[in-house]
Symmetry: D3
Subunit: 318 residues, 6 copies
């Protein structure tokens, strides 16, 4: 099957105590799965994009726990099953001001850290409209850094549009390492998405969003650069034109996964042929809906996104 969107990256088990309970005293945990690249694929799949997620997982109930959930959301997992590696996981404790949300990664030596290009379905990448991965992937191991470079080049060579979210994780590497690794990939990237603070901290570029985007386009010749600014919305430059997209106001239940849902919404509409402007507003609405749902995943329909865009999303329908 040819999928419109192919993503590659790690998906972890997500373990969290009930809201308001601390990990160190919890007696039950909610058990989900999450990872930037499967999150993006899942958001896009719920919006109608045929999506495949590539990864490497341990051949165990824990690895199957991951693929079961990814499949549930309409994404086809194509997995290199590993006899030995670990299944990455993370613990998350939802905060409440002034207590921050805390994430504890337990992902060292995950099966994916040994993934090489030959283990992945490169044919799917070559046939896709868009291939997506994030800055988390090369951060996980030097093998993965090489693999990421290889498959981005493969995608580019095949004419597949490549999208990349900088997605800096301070618990995985330093900003210096992240900058060097990311910039080495930029030549093979068509669409760069980056949080404003990551551009400041990792790429060491400063100024307001527009300045950051212009500099990145100018220096690396991206087709599209999207700078996300949290509650201040997003700004894109595409083929020389600048687009500004405000964020929707939300009554947030769970903020984790908002950025991935934004990307998933954008790519879904990009693939469907929407204009940058339409895709950006769609992305913002998808992200807003995600914030109302527990877990990392944008379990939303295209119809619901459109209701948000039409400002009908309130009250009770009965």
């Amino acid at each position: 099957m040819t999928a419109e969107l192919v993503t590659f990256g790690e998906t972890m088990l997500r373990l969290n105590p009930p809201s308001g309970t601390r990990l160190e005293t919890a007696s039950t945990l909610e058990f989900r799965t999450a990872g930037a690249e499967s999150n993006v694929a899942i958001a896009a799949a719920h919006l109608g994009t045929s999506s495949v997620w590539l990864s490497k997982l341990p051949d165990s109930p824990l690895g199957r726990r991951v693929t079961n959930e990814v499949r549930q959301h309409g994404v086809e997992p194509r997995i290199a099953w590993d006899d030995g590696g670990r299944q990455g996981s993370y613990y998350i404790e939802q905060g409440s001001a002034p207590r921050p949300t805390t994430v504890i990664y337990d992902r060292a030596d995950a099966a994916i850290t040994t993934a090489r290009p030959a283990e992945l379905d490169r044919e799917a990448i070559r046939n896709a409209a868009v291939f997506y991965t994030s800055g988390i992937t090369p951060a996980l191991s030097s093998t993965l850094a090489e693999t990421t470079a290889d498959i981005l080049a493969t995608a580019q060579a095949a004419g597949t549009t490549t999208a990349f979210d900088l997605n800096y994780r301070s618990k995985l590497w330093s900003t210096t390492e992240a900058r060097r690794a990311s910039e080495s990939l930029f030549a093979d990237i068509d669409i760069l998405v980056a949080a404003e603070r990551d551009v400041h901290n990792v790429l060491d570029r400063h100024g307001e969003a527009r300045t950051l985007a212009e500099g990145l386009v100018s220096d690396f010749d991206f087709r599209t650069v999207i700078i996300t600014c949290g509650e201040d919305g997003a700004l894109a430059i595409h083929d020389g034109t600048t687009y500004e997209q405000p964020a929707f106001e939300t009554d947030t239940v769970d903020a984790i996964g908002t950025g991935d849902s934004f990307v998933g919404g954008y790519l879904a509409r990009h693939i469907a042929g929407d204009s940058v402007s339409d895709a950006l507003s769609y992305a913002a609405a998808t992200a807003a809906l995600k914030r109302t749902i527990e877990g990392d995943l944008a379990v939303v329909t295209a119809n619901e996104v459109e209701q948000v865009l039409e400002n009908e999303g309130s009250g009770i329908a009965r």
Copy 2:
């Protein structure tokens, strides 16, 4: 037993996933019962009114699930048990801006849709101080439309005060159908309660609340008309006098059932002999308390309502 308040209508099973979880991925549901007319009777019963609820239910664990819960709240169910009909149910997913609360009705062919006057305890209706039903009842079937007309006339003839909430449900019928059916009942109704937007959409009357109420009194000769305006409170005209009642500010947990609790609070105090003004403020306080409780039901005491009215309802008593 003679009950002060008798209501008639459908009560459904209410199934909802935990807050923040979508129906399409839920693995557990909270299981309650709810219906406009039993909600009203339950609110009144908690406030001290002897209440009977009339309905028709399937003779099954699901039908008993309904009567068990209604009885728990102090209302006596008098049921025409049906060997064949369905138990109506609805699924509800609590929203969070910009995601709306969603209701999925699954009530077609419910046992009640075949209920005829002879199956109901008309003696109870004749002996009651107030009989209440809502615009949902005639919407459920043509048989029920006839039955509703018949028992409103029965109540009127017996000198029982009749109360009716317009309660438009777009998933049951069109505004045109609702208007025709409702207006045909108005001659037998003493107290009309209607949400401002329903007066606009269903009765095709426009203007501010006072104008709407005056028009309805003038055209249909209601003893009392109450227009509810959500956060803008309520306005009543009774025997030519206008009353305005602001809404109490709340930290809302679950908004479903607020309107029914308002009506239940009003009728409880109407039956107890309060003035319209006192009954309206009692109704508003009952509705405010309901908003702090999960589920459709106003599980509140008269004492708690009075504390809200005396503005003592905050802090921690210990």
Copy 3:
């Protein structure tokens, strides 16, 4: 994609209170999905068979709840989405001697009851190794009875092996109706599976399992007949040879879905080219594992089934 196994039938929402709690007093329900034909496809998929499930569902969160769960288990749903029909559901209360397990169906007017052949992916049926449906499907509506006959004939004509489980449901039709409808389909069925008591009650045939199987083969010329006898195991006649398969002893957690898991296990190994004898023992082991799992579904691996067959399935591995 060509699937090895294609099944067609209704899948319902399954709602059950916690074990030991009665429906009429329950305040939470477990929320799953189940249906004979998707159960069979899911068992086979977990055992490595590529599987597609055909159905018709309402285009609603409830319909998506079903496809999400089916996909989770590795089966591809191909759905005729309906704007109007209901989503069938059933309530189940697990018994404990002397209290029987109780099932309350709420499946009247489900979307699938209007499914016609043109709405189904007949190409998938034609390309499959095996097509499976059960006696529940024609029981749901006269339209479905016609559709079932049509697609069994389609499968036969294309050379696809057809498998059918008699699966009598007394709450759907009489034994007389079931007999007439089932027998009219037998000419297009290669593999008949039937519970011993259904052969007695529905087909009005009597005697021990071997006699029943021989009579069915003789009268209807089935390639394979499998009679299941609960704790007494199963008996098959295939191409004139008789096979007996004892049941495995289990410490049962949830018996619902055992029969479907048996069929799923059998078809998985039939498709893989196993002998009837091997497929039967695999089926019995799959069914035994299912009994240890809450819900209708055989969430098991081929490796686990093999451990049961090798009698290694006990103790703790660590």
Copy 4:
């Protein structure tokens, strides 16, 4: 309203951790209500007997928690509401051999301990077919011992049949105290129910069940004596005739409340005019069903009891 059965006694909050979890490490508790006399009334009400339960409770959410649950099961509570007393409660930890089930009573100074006859609805007692209380009631306070004697005499004088379960509780009083108090009530009791071991330990009578029953009839002139022997069933002497009733085999979920359900089943059929023999078998079947349900209460229908008597209570009906 005239009720057929009136009972009087304490109903407590019942708090238990999940099965397999110890109280001293539990973080959640299941929250129910239970008491011998309301249990009996509830069992009878579920079987069709109109039932009233008399008690005295604190006027608080905890007292209302009790009446809400009693009402849910179809029993009408008539309560002397107390401004000051406590709400009795008990903690229960389900055992598993060799760990016994443990009960911790926290019922000292409960509101009911001050209940005097004038606070109770003696008219209901006089109009009832049967009045029931148990040996727990006089054990709770000396005031209650007097009240129990008074209302049993009231019932007798009015021609109401009086039923009494010895129900010895070692945590409330000594066997010597219990014997003296119980025997002083026997003159006003028509139907005595007693567990075999209580007859041994409290009444200091020995021998097999028949001997015990004969001695009690002979010494105290009871109309009916029923000796319950757990898994060995029950034996009754009524008007000189002896009846033996075996117990039904069960797969027990929760044994608490079995004895009360037996009494409730017996009285329901006694009131309905059944023979002693029929009432005893009905009682045993009701008790057997109770053992399959979590909590103290026999949430069963007459139809289910009859299925057990007809030995149809197994398998799955669908």
Copy 5:
């Protein structure tokens, strides 16, 4: 072992329904333990102070439930085990405006009400840096009022700093009784903590916080007086100097226990040798974090408190 902080008082079982559910309809309760003096010790222990809590408890699973939880949080319980007394408990229903949070105490005749000095580890008190109890303790019984006086005197005589929170509980005694009892203890108290409203209501002193504190220092010669003013922060006078501490803004999950956490934070830093100013800000940050956690207890680390003080407590760290 010598502990830096020793506290003495009652710890109860805390029973609460899920948020949004009323006690009178709840079917599950969360089960925790809480008491002002163990709360203070637990907050201090989590912040690094070696802490001992003295009490008297029934020798039962309920008493052990309390010590297990106290020990879990790093406080050593030294208990006089009682064969007979009750385990105090309280029910709490979280409010939501306009519905107040409701507390129902069930603590009469708790084992601790008979505690005499000889049953307590006075050596631990003498060796501690700080001894703490609150105005709840003398309110529980006249024996405890004597014991409280005795051990405060013991502490003073040994040079242990004594700290006391006025902590008025209207459900335990009148303001007049509380005033008389508290003032009789003041001579033996070094550090007085009091909520502004308690100073008004109990001590009958009026004016703003500074006035109240100055008056108390002047009349009773306290070394330190701290007046807490809820969202308006706190004010302290120590050795003639006045300190003002604003409260941190919070997104509150559970407000119960905030005051105890403030005291625990203050004493932890007082014992560590911090200045009054530093200890106050630490106390305010500890209290702010507590408000984000379900239950009475400040399950926080020193590092987290410092993050709040450095204003880093927001966002997601990953």
Copy 6:
């Protein structure tokens, strides 16, 4: 503080889905902690032995989750806090015949794997009556193998009795590695406990329990050898005398941790000065009670163990 019992080893997070649910489809997990050496210390502490558990843990909420639970059960953790290592965890899925219980370890690179003697409280070991560790500890890393040897020698030299459970884990090392490592420690071990099957598989010794025990005493000069044989009880040789102890029959809820509870019970009574015979029967009763409790831990009192020994452990006490 001097503790009577000191143990050293890894304690993991224990994550399990609800019974009857598979890991690969679970959405919630129960969250506990467990490890052979803390399990032993906890069983002994609940039975009255002062106990310290030594380990090395990551300085994180996960590491604190472990110490909180260990402390809750009355054991004092003395921890080398690590800035970098992982917190070991394991997933467990309870089986039901024929499905085995499955354990998935995720303990590679746990903080403890780098623990050296200097990081541990050797003074506590020297002052203890008994020091205990198991064959799991040296299996975790070569550093731990050295550390285990070092501290066993330290204990021996100080006159502390050393106890060791062979505890073979096939997922950690081969039987050959285990044999070599274990036998090299035997010279410093006084009390050896070993499951019969581990003696067969790891030590390559064959025959019945008595033969195994005699051979081990003869070859390695242990003071005491205890061979555990599951449902067949245990056999000990001590100072030349043989003792046989049958197992108690149980209605098992959770078998994990039974062996550790046996050892904890034995050591508690050994330290208290009991005879080998008495300690063995106490151990067997402790293990039997553990089997009735969810989780690895023997949350039992000495009184409960004695009830089992006196055969009073059945029925309901109330």
